[in-house]
Amino acid sequence: MSRYGARAVELLKEFRRSEANFLIGPYNEDAVRRIVQEVDELYAECLRISEAMKRTPEEIPALTSALTVHHSAMQRNKRCLLAYLQARVLQIEQVRWDFGQAPPASVRDSYSPFEQQYMSQYNQILQTYMGSVQCTLTEDLNPPKDLLAEVRCLTNEGEIVTENGTIVLRKNSTLFLRRSDVDMLIRQGLVEHVHSTDR
């Protein structure tokens, strides 16, 4: 059995394991580099086969399978890498929607430099779009129940500036906040929802 593509499959399985734990795993730069290297080797092998075909045309039928296998293996590695990158991009975009523009450092540390760049540019085009339709889409993710929501503070965050003024978060204190302000604080884990005021 050939080991072609085995690293790439390992990388995807690793991704699956982190995902199952709701975590964004660290970008596996080493694995990506080795897979790119494998593609290089496969390409060199393709060239070697093509040259042999030119040299000895009578061997073309016997060499075609080898060319096909190496070519398929290149495509296979490419597909695995793109699937890995895309799955991570989806997570990165999700983080933007869940945490706003300032994700927890632990999450950010998992990104590659290119992913950091993706994050900030994605943020930019999203802001541009939201600005052009005059609508902040990243808030208000759940249907409004009432103007105010009761929350309990989970951390001593101190003063925080919101759309509707400054509030002070002191651990275990309860506050009534405007729903539009509350959403992001909850998703960031700073406060928790006590109950809807009207139900």
Partner: protein, 191 residues
């Protein structure tokens, strides 16, 4: 970006139900409210007025009104529906739109305005159970690749609670049926 933005949540179905119009009796005086979706009021003490459920619940929670139960939120009416629902095994009985969400919301915030509240809860629960069992049974006898499945009178909330399974299963059924068909065609062509 999140898959959840492509799905309907139970809270969103309830949100849609909250626009249903019901009658309240306010205890305050207020001019007409010019909402974007229409005009509500004016409000005068003891004068029944029609408002959307969300407004009714908001006013009720602030002790600004009493809520008149919709005609259908009634023991006799719902008991008859329950019997009817039990009678037919192969179809769903027509129910008032959003009956699950509206009854849940009203019984939650205005149980003191609604006669036989706890009895009503029980009957509605029974109706829901029977309908749910029917939906499940309907699902379980599905097979192969039906052209279309009729689901008349199934409410949005009910659809929503079984939607992912239903859709997923139907897509797979079709995939199996199509692949089998393709194999048959291809296998016959092979000499």
């Amino acid at each position: 970006m999140a898959k959840r933005f492509l799905e309907f949540t139970a809270a969103e179905v309830e949100f849609l139900a909250e626009d249903t119009i019901i009658t309240i009796v306010p205890n305050f005086q207020m001019d007409m409210l010019f909402f974007i979706s229409g005009t509500v009021g004016p409000f005068s003490p003891s004068l029944p007025v029609q408002v959307p459920v969300w407004l009714a619940c908001t006013l009720k929670t602030r002790k600004r009104c009493s809520i008149q139960a919709p005609e259908w939120l009634d023991v006799a009416y719902l008991s008859a529906k329950l019997d009817e629902e039990r009678m037919f095994h192969d179809r769903f009985i027509e129910m008032p739109e959003h009956f699950m969400e509206i009854s849940a919301m009203l019984l939650e915030c205005a149980s003191d305005d609604i006669r036989n509240a706890s009895q009503l809860r029980g009957i509605i629960e029974d109706i829901c159970e029977i309908r749910y069992a029917k939906a499940r049974h309907g699902l379980s006898i599905l097979q192969d690749n039906p052209v279309a499945t009729q689901v008349n009178n199934l409410s949005l909330m009910e659809i929503n609670s079984i939607r992912p399974f239903f859709i997923h299963a139907m897509n797979e059924f079709r995939n199996f049926a199509q692949t089998l068909q393709a194999t048959r065609i291809r296998a016959n062509e092979v000499p």
